[in-house]
């Protein structure tokens, strides 16, 4: 990445592709924290041979693509070649309904329209959303919207484009949709001006950068932004990560002078057709070939993204929600001498050492439904999400279980509860040693995340909820409600228990605006994940946790 000879440097796209080999996708309850993680194969079996072959093919394809990108990255000035956007036709189409949107990580889930299968997706850096006839952000798309997902042929989680029905033939849209398209375009312009136009660095030469802008709607891009970028005018270039998140634009920005505007081909995914050549006073580590940037036009206010979306959160209190922090395993893989769920596939996994607490990111995170547990022996069994594979596990001596955000024994966690298993390899190389087993309630509570009901359709057994983080003090010292970080669809049925304060109530007691914590079942084929329990309101959440804590012994008289 930074400072590495370009021939060893993988572009963000190829990195995402290689990560694809690991993940199987989370369940509906929460978009995966920290980008792509999940349920890699734990115990290879004979039935996995076919899957292994597929994996091998993907590996070869990934290596091939990585080499392609590296070759491009190696190009000298004499043979400068711009980075390659995914060519048209390099994706296959899947139709589905949007069921989860992670605004911050540009990821989510959709349910296949034909099969009902749950698919995870991650938007490539160049990927765009088209909605209502114009470019949009995930925030603009309501849950349940039928969409066409252009899934990269390199792997089944990376998408290069997602469109709704109205937008599938952009730039051509029906006259009846033009007004909506115009309104959507206006919203998107406003959205983008706050964050900067994304793009990547094609080339850095001395103090000159060549940047190609991203867009899913090149025909309108020039109308939307072209006039903001004019030769001779200033711009502000800010470093960004692959998820197009910036750190602290107000401070980090490099004031650039636009020296040239070039045309770029648009017969591909994600390219706006506009390439900018700018001079900057200082070169930053993030101004490297293949790295993403955000560019603010002349006169645009250059401010930090809101708290949670910004990678720095400067001036605010300590960020409680770890999934919003910079993923160091993903972004600085060279600082990890072992494989993680985010990179370093060629390295072995971290091996547990007696007396040494394993460092963060060393674990392999697996989601599964607890089948049985032996509290005394600290062992148990779980069924893995999606695959249904049954895994025997044991807690390591320093390991712990958490239930309802309190320390627990394995037996305290009701069977059928979907948990997160932080696993390490045993002597045979299988992932059976657990450092942490925690339910969804515990994860959400630790990270300060709650679900806020936006819409309720109990007859269909669905709740549309927004994913929110706590209010926090802003730069002025005032408490501020932070914008939502995502939304998702929760499934409920008659078995779902609903709790308010210390009482069990009915599903019909749920109301729009309620802040929920939940537990779930796992997602299995033909059996979508559903809520086992729902706790309504902060007071209920506290009481639930309190109920788990050991009560002081009564005083002897």
């Amino acid at each position: 990445m930074n400072g590495v000879s370009s021939k060893f440097q993988a572009s963000e796209a190829s990195r995402s592709l290689s990560l694809l080999l690991l993940e199987r996708g989370p369940t509906s309850a929460a978009p995966r924290a920290r980008g792509v993680r999940g349920n890699a194969r734990i115990n290879p079996t004979s039935s996995d041979t076919k899957a292994s072959l597929i994996q091998l093919k993907f590996s070869l394809l990934t290596v091939g693509l990585a080499l392609c990108f590296s070759t491009v990255c190696c190009a000298s000035d004499a043979t400068f070649k711009p980075l390659e956007f995914p060519p048209s036709g390099s994706a296959h189409l899947l139709n589905g309904e949007l069921v989860t949107a992670d605004f911050i990580h540009r990821a989510g889930q959709f349910r296949d329209s034909k099969t009902g299968e749950l698919h995870d997706f991650i938007m490539q850096s160049v990927a765009a959303i088209l909605y209502n006839g114009a470019e949009a952000d995930l925030r603009d798309v309501p849950l349940g919207t039928p969409m066409r997902f252009h899934v990269s042929n390199a792997g089944n989680s990376q998408i290069v484009l997602a469109t709704d029905e109205i937008s599938k033939n952009i730039p051509h849209i029906e006259p009846s949709n033009e007004a909506a398209a115009k309104e959507q375009r206006k919203n998107f312009i406003e959205f983008t001006k706050k964050r900067g136009v994304p793009g990547w660095i094609d080339k850095s030469d001395g103090n000159t950068l060549t940047i190609t802008f991203f867009s899913g709607d090149p025909s309108n891009f020039k109308t939307m932004f072209r006039n903001d970028f004019v030769v001779g005018k200033d711009a502000a270039v800010c470093v960004a990560n692959a998820e197009l998140r910036t750190w602290n634009p107000g401070t980090d920005k490099e004031k650039a002078t636009i020296v040239e505007i070039q045309n770029a081909p648009t017969d591909c995914y994600g390219c706006s057709g506009v390439r900018l050549v700018v001079n900057v006073p200082y070169m930053l580590e993030g101004f490297r070939r293949g790295r993403c940037v955000r560019v603010f036009g002349s006169g645009w206010p250059v401010k930090d993204s809101f708290y949670g979306e910004s990678l720095m959160g400067y001036g605010y209190g300590r960020l409680q929600t770890t999934e919003l922090m910079e993923n160091v395993a993903k972004d600085y893989p060279d600082q990890f001498p072992f494989r993680t769920d985010y990179g370093n596939e060629k390295l072995p996994w971290f091996q547990l050492k007696t007396g040494i607490a394993p460092p963060p990111f060393a674990e392999h995170l697996v989601f599964g439904e607890l089948v049985k547990a032996d509290a005394a022996a600290r062992t148990g069994q779980f069924r893995t999400d999606r695959s249904g594979e049954v895994v025997d596990f044991a807690l390591i001596p320093e390991g712990e279980a958490k239930y309802l955000d309190a320390k627990a024994t394995l037996a305290d966690i009701p069977g059928g509860t979907r948990c997160r298993f932080h696993l390490f390899q045993d002597e045979k190389g299988a992932f059976t040693k657990a450092s942490l087993v925690s339910d969804e309630f515990s994860f959400l509570a630790t990270n300060g995340i709650t679900y806020r009901i936006e819409a309720s359709n109990l007859s269909a057994g669905k709740l549309n909820v927004a994913r929110q983080i706590p209010e926090t003090k802003n730069y002025n010292g005032d408490m501020e409600r932070i914008p939502d970080i995502g939304r998702t669809e929760l499934r409920v049925n008659e078995s779902t228990r609903v709790w308010k304060n210390d009482q069990q109530v009915k599903l019909s007691d749920l109301a729009v605006g309620d802040a929920l914590l939940i537990n779930l079942t796992s997602e299995q084929k033909g059996s979508p994940s559903r809520c086992t329990d729902i706790w309504i309101g902060v007071n209920t959440h506290k009481l639930a946790t309190e109920s788990r804590k050991p009560k002081p012994a009564p005083k002897k008289k």
Partner: protein, 816 residues
């Protein structure tokens, strides 16, 4: 814990020292007032024509009468009147505007004459006249003497050390200027106490400690445990951006003053053809640069540096700096990454940080990667220390009685005071020992009290010449030994010199010549080779007006040091080879390092240390007059000042200082917007058109204008870069005409004339040497002896070493 009696005793000691040194500083200067034929030939007629009508016998306007003014070098009032007369005439105030104007040449002649009388008066004040004269040691001399006497390093630049010595025309060792104040006394007392604590082994041997600063110590412990668990803690390093990118101060706690070994493991990388990264360690509280060096070591092959330094006891905040030009260090982009990580390799820098390498991994800015710093000490060569063993010469088994104490004191005092000690002097000091012992001090500690008295005595702090009981015009051999050693070593005489003094052989010409040769060849002469040119050429003015960072972005501390190193090293090279002083005026070589060579536009010079480099004509350098130090020391931070350059030439090379300017000199006019660009020379022409100004400036300006091709920081140029005005930048004109009518076209032409007049330069140079050696200005009567020195120099082709020998063996050096 100090008792009341101890405190009272120390107070008494302090008072004695104060009184003794105050007595020593009272000087009575006898003036010399020769008759001057110029007065009758030129000055008196001038007064008669232009002044006496209003300031003569019949009328004394303003209570001033000039026709009967005499020269009395002893009278500040009379000499002050002369100064006022000179200023009025120079400024054109007098004669009044309505009266006929005197010719500019006549005005110049009168001003010059009065100025020379004033200089003589000043020099006379400084010269001997009393039976005993006292010249205080400069602070460098103090430190050197302590080093040679006791083997202890005393840092004079420490802000808590001795005050900086005042300057007189560049010289910081003029006896009458180096006065003593109560603050000095306190400093000397505390310095002597500290020095003796280190020199003597009065307590237990200090324990040698090793303090290791890891990157976590320097950057914060936040990730230490996590990185240890991850297995990368040993990979963490500290990345330092260029342009003084610094860590926060880190404090080293030195429990025992002494010598310390400092080790640093570091990599440093720089772009091809760019300046290397430069590691600097600076102790802010003692204002001391501990270490500075260019670092060239790849990321995967760091180098380990080790150096030795003396550190006083205390907590010292240390700044660790990458002192090379580069991007602005103040914005966050120049800071450590902190969250989310610590630096472990060039691949792990954070995107918002300044880019260190290009996409091929090659450095694009000079940066440092620090692994650790270790502080190892104090280094104790022997215990007891050598100084302790020398002072307590009898060893542990000797009877520690007053007789032994007397012997110790006598031996030490003779060395410290640089002469035999009188019985009464020793008696007084032995009484201190007795008193200290009565108060409970053991033998060694009580001896320390006496040694303290010796080091705070006027006999140590001053070079004393003369005899209170009998007038003497010649130095004794003991006094000669001190004069000679402080001239060539800036330190006390060594045993050999003292032996020659004891044998009364030092004053013999042959002995003196041999000693000069020996002393110039001794490593201690490095002090002379550095201090004399520094003071003669007024190098302390280099960088005094810091060059503007916008106009001269490439000027930095390293360049400034390199410039000074060139000039000082040049002098040292001429001294070492006993070469001719002509080479100061022009040469086909100089000393350069890579940094300075790049500044001069000279290719092919590598390395951080200055070394001899042959010059070609199109390098436009040669001799000291085209050194960057000399050319820049007269600049004002924004532009060069040719008039100041001319004044410097007159003072330092020609030896005829210009009269001071009058008070009413107007500033240069602000350029009119849109007016054609003009050079500074052209602007100065307009203000020199005034006849009163022209008289002096005809002598001054050409000597400065000759170097117009060199800008404010000594770079060669052919046009003058001018921001405001219309048209292209004008071509420079370095031509001029000397006062005697000789014309030159550029600096080389001027240098030829100066070489033609080498005898005049030799006389001026001899005067500077004498001022330095004798620690006073040169009087009229001194010039006769100096003329002989210059004549001998001519016979020896003006060789520097030979000139020094001639001076030392001259009557001037041997007399008070």
């Amino acid at each position: 814990m100090m008792t009341m009696q101890h405190a009272s005793f120390k107070k008494t000691l302090r008072l004695c020292v104060t009184l003794l040194t105050f007595v020593a500083t009272r000087e009575i200067v006898a003036a010399d007032t020769p008759t001057d034929p110029n007065f009758a030939a030129a000055i008196k007629p001038f007064f008669a024509q232009h002044c006496t009508a209003c300031h003569g016998e019949k009328k004394q306007k303003g209570d001033l009468r000039v026709d009967n003014l005499t020269i009395n070098l002893d009278s500040p009032k009379i000499m002050g009147t002369w100064e006022e007369v000179m200023n009025r005439i120079n400024s054109g105030d007098m004669p009044p505007v309505k009266e006929p104007r005197p010719k500019p040449d006549d005005v110049a002649r009168v001003s010059d004459w009065i100025a020379s009388q004033l200089r003589d008066a000043e020099a006379a004040k400084q010269s001997t006249g009393d039976r005993v004269t006292f010249h205080k040691l400069s602070r460098e001399e103090y430190a050197n003497t302590i080093r040679d006497l006791l083997g202890v390093t005393y840092d004079v630049n420490d802000p808590t050390g001795l005050p900086e010595d005042p300057d007189w025309h560049g010289f910081q060792r003029i006896g009458s200027v180096l006065t003593l104040s109560p603050a000095h006394v306190e400093k000397y007392l505390s310095a002597a106490d500290m020095i003796l604590n280190e020199a003597l082994s009065l307590g237990a041997q200090p324990k040698r400690d090793l303090v290791h600063w890891s990157p976590f110590d320097l950057r914060g412990k936040a990730f230490e445990k996590e990185y240890q668990a991850r297995g990368i803690a040993d990979k963490v390093r500290v990345d330092l951006v260029p342009n003084n990118g610094a860590l926060d101060d880190h404090t080293i706690d030195i429990k025992t003053a002494g010598e310390y070994l400092v080790r640093i493991k570091v990599s440093g990388m720089a772009p091809a053809n760019g300046s290397p990264a430069r590691l600097r360690l600076y102790a802010g509280d003692i204002n001391r640069l501990l270490f500075e060096q260019d670092i060239d070591a790849p990321e995967d092959k760091p180098m380990t540096i080790e150096f030795r330094t003396h550190l006083p006891a205390g907590k010292h905040p240390i700044r660790i700096v990458n002192a090379v030009h580069g991007p602005n260090p103040e914005a966050r982009r120049s800071r450590a990454s902190g969250t989310p990580n610590h630096f472990t390799s060039l691949k792990t820098r954070v995107p918002w940080q300044i880019k260190f390498t290009d996409d091929d991994g090659k450095p694009i800015v000079p940066f440092l990667l620090l692994d650790w710093i270790e502080w190892d000490g104090p280094i104790v060569e022997s215990w007891p220390t050598r100084a302790h063993q020398q002072i307590f010469f009898g060893g542990e088994k000797t009877t520690k009685d007053l007789a032994y104490a007397r012997e110790i004191i006598a031996r030490f005092a003779e060395r410290a005071w640089r002469r035999p000690v009188k019985t009464a002097e020793v008696d007084r000091l032995v009484k201190l020992v007795e008193k200290a012992q009565k108060l409970g001090d053991n033998f060694e500690t009580s001896i320390k009290t006496a040694l303290l008295g010796i080091l705070c005595s006027k006999n140590f702090l001053y070079i004393e010449e003369g005899n209170a009981t009998a007038q003497s015009t010649q130095l004794t051999d003991w006094e000669l030994a001190s004069r000679l050693s402080y001239f060539l070593w800036s330190s006390m005489p060594d045993a050999h010199l003292l032996d020659l003094a004891r044998a009364q052989k030092l004053h013999e010409t042959g002995t003196l010549r041999a000693e000069v040769k020996r002393m110039v060849a001794d490593p201690k002469a490095a002090d002379f080779a550095e201090t004399f040119p520094h003071q003669w050429l007024q190098l302390r003015r280099v960088g005094m007006f810091a060059p503007d960072k916008v106009l001269y972005p490439e000027y930095d501390e390293y360049l400034e040091k390199s410039m000074i190193a060139e000039t000082v090293g040049f002098f040292g090279d001429v001294l070492k080879r006993n070469a001719s002083i002509r080479e100061f005026l022009d040469s086909d070589w100089t000393l350069l390092n890579e940094r300075l060579a790049r500044h001069y536009g000279i290719d092919g010079v590598k390395g951080a240390n200055v070394h001899r480099v042959a010059l070609k004509p199109d390098d436009h350098r040669g001799g000291i007059l085209t050194h960057g130090s000399i050319l820049s020391l007269t600049s004002d931070g924004t532009r060069h000042r040719p008039v100041h350059r001319g004044v410097w030439m007159l003072e330092s090379i020609v030896g005829k200082a210009a009269p001071p300017p009058p008070a009413n000199v107007p500033a240069l006019n602000t350029p009119v917007p849109g007016a054609p660009k003009t050079t500074l020379r052209e602007k100065l022409e307009s203000h020199r058109s005034d006849a009163n100004c022209a008289a002096c400036h005809r002598k001054i300006d050409p000597l400065g204008m000759a170097f117009e091709n060199y800008d404010a920081i000594g770079r060669w140029r052919t046009v003058e870069t001018i921001k405001d005005g219309s048209g292209s930048d004008p071509k420079l004109d370095p031509s001029g005409e000397l006062y005697d009518g000789r014309k030159f076209s550029d600096a080389n032409g001027l240098k030829h004339f100066l070489l033609d007049d080498t005898d005049k330069f030799a006389t001026a140079f001899a005067e500077k040497l004498a001022t330095y050696a004798l620690r006073r200005g040169i009087t009229f009567s001194d010039r006769i002896d100096l003329k002989r020195v210059a004549e001998q120099a001519k016979a020896n082709d003006y060789k520097l070493g030979s000139m020094i020998e001639s001076l030392v063996t001259s009557e001037l050096f041997l007399k008070r």
